[in-house]
């Protein structure tokens, strides 16, 4: 089913806001306000337009930004967690591991072992290319992995 280009343009504005400031809190009502629609309508139409629910999209932006900071700066991991919108280091570390498969420290070590090639591509596209593909919810992913481990154990 098609969506109105005018509505999509307004949904894109909300997506742009998350892209521009992923460290900020983006409760649905705030995003809906940017798009000038009701909260329920926003959630439904955003998912339909961009294929992921708004908060999962935000999560991918935060992880991608955290990854870039781990790679490009010497900031302590606690500082990176705060700068990318998490209120606790524990939550950041757990979700980061769930999504990327490694801890922030491991990612930092790995990213630094390969040379960085970013000069010839606009940064926003580079960032997009580095964003994790969260086609399932993090909790769901965790559950599947846990059940996979259980199966291995029973074998």
């Amino acid at each position: 089913m098609s969506q109105s280009p005018k509505l999509l343009r307004r949904l894109l504005r909300a997506k742009d806001h998350m892209d521009g400031a992923p460290h900020e809190e983006w409760p649905i009502h705030r995003l809906a306000e940017v798009s000038a629609v009701s909260a329920a309508h926003f959630t439904r139409e955003f998912k339909k337009a961009f294929g992921v629910p708004p908060h999962r999209y935000l999560l991918t932006r935060r992880i991608e930004r955290a990854t870039a900071l781990l790679r490009d700066t010497n900031l302590p991991i606690t500082e990176i967690a705060i700068q990318t919108g998490w209120s606790s280091l524990g939550t950041f570390g757990r979700i980061f591991r769930d999504i990327t498969g490694g801890s922030p420290g491991e990612l930092r070590a790995r990213a630094r072992s390969v040379p960085h090639v970013g000069v010839h591509m606009p940064e926003c596209f580079m960032r997009n290319a580095h964003r994790p593909n969260l086609n399932i919810a993090v909790l769901e992913k965790r559950r599947i992995e846990a059940s996979g481990k259980l199966e291995l154990q029973s074998n």
């Binding site: 098609s2 280009p5 742009d16 970013g118 000069v119 606009p122």
Partner: protein
């Protein structure tokens, strides 16, 4: 004899709106604006770049059937069209000027890789990166 790209087109939602944006806000000039029935061939040009035209085209008949036109409009409005890059001599000054006239910036100027860049969208949703020409590139 020289060879090179002469016209590259963008899809826009509304050609009048796009023309106003590219001419009045970004400082392009209208190069060609001709119609054949409902079809309108519209291009703009930067005054400093006379060999290149940017086409502002609306998806629709006779080029596209209605369903394809709708899909293209949706893709444009979701910001999914390919990247566009605008070079400027002073990114921060251009940002100040363009923000004041209501250009929708998605990223304020940032120092990166020895130059400065910012991001904005046209009214239809096409995303532009605005990059300051680095001194060493100018001398090339």
């Amino acid at each position: 004899m020289t060879q090179g790209i002469n016209v590259v087109g963008l899809y826009v939602r509304d050609q009048d709106e796009a023309l106003a944006f590219y001419v009045e806000k970004l400082g392009f000039l209208c190069h060609t604006d001709v119609r054949n029935g409902d079809y309108r061939w519209l291009t703009v040009q930067h005054p400093n770049q006379p060999s290149f035209q940017l086409g502002l085209f609306k998806p629709g008949p006779p080029v596209h059937d209605a369903a394809t036109a709708q899909t293209l409009q949706e893709i444009v409005a979701k910001g999914a069209m390919p990247p566009l890059v605008l070079f400027v001599d002073n990114c921060r000054a251009a940002y100040e000027r363009l923000s004041k006239c209501g250009v929708e910036f998605t990223q304020a100027p940032v120092d990166r890789y020895g130059t400065v860049d910012a991001g904005f969208r046209d009214p239809s949703g096409n995303g532009w990166k605005m990059i300051e020409v680095a001194a060493k590139q100018e001398s090339q």
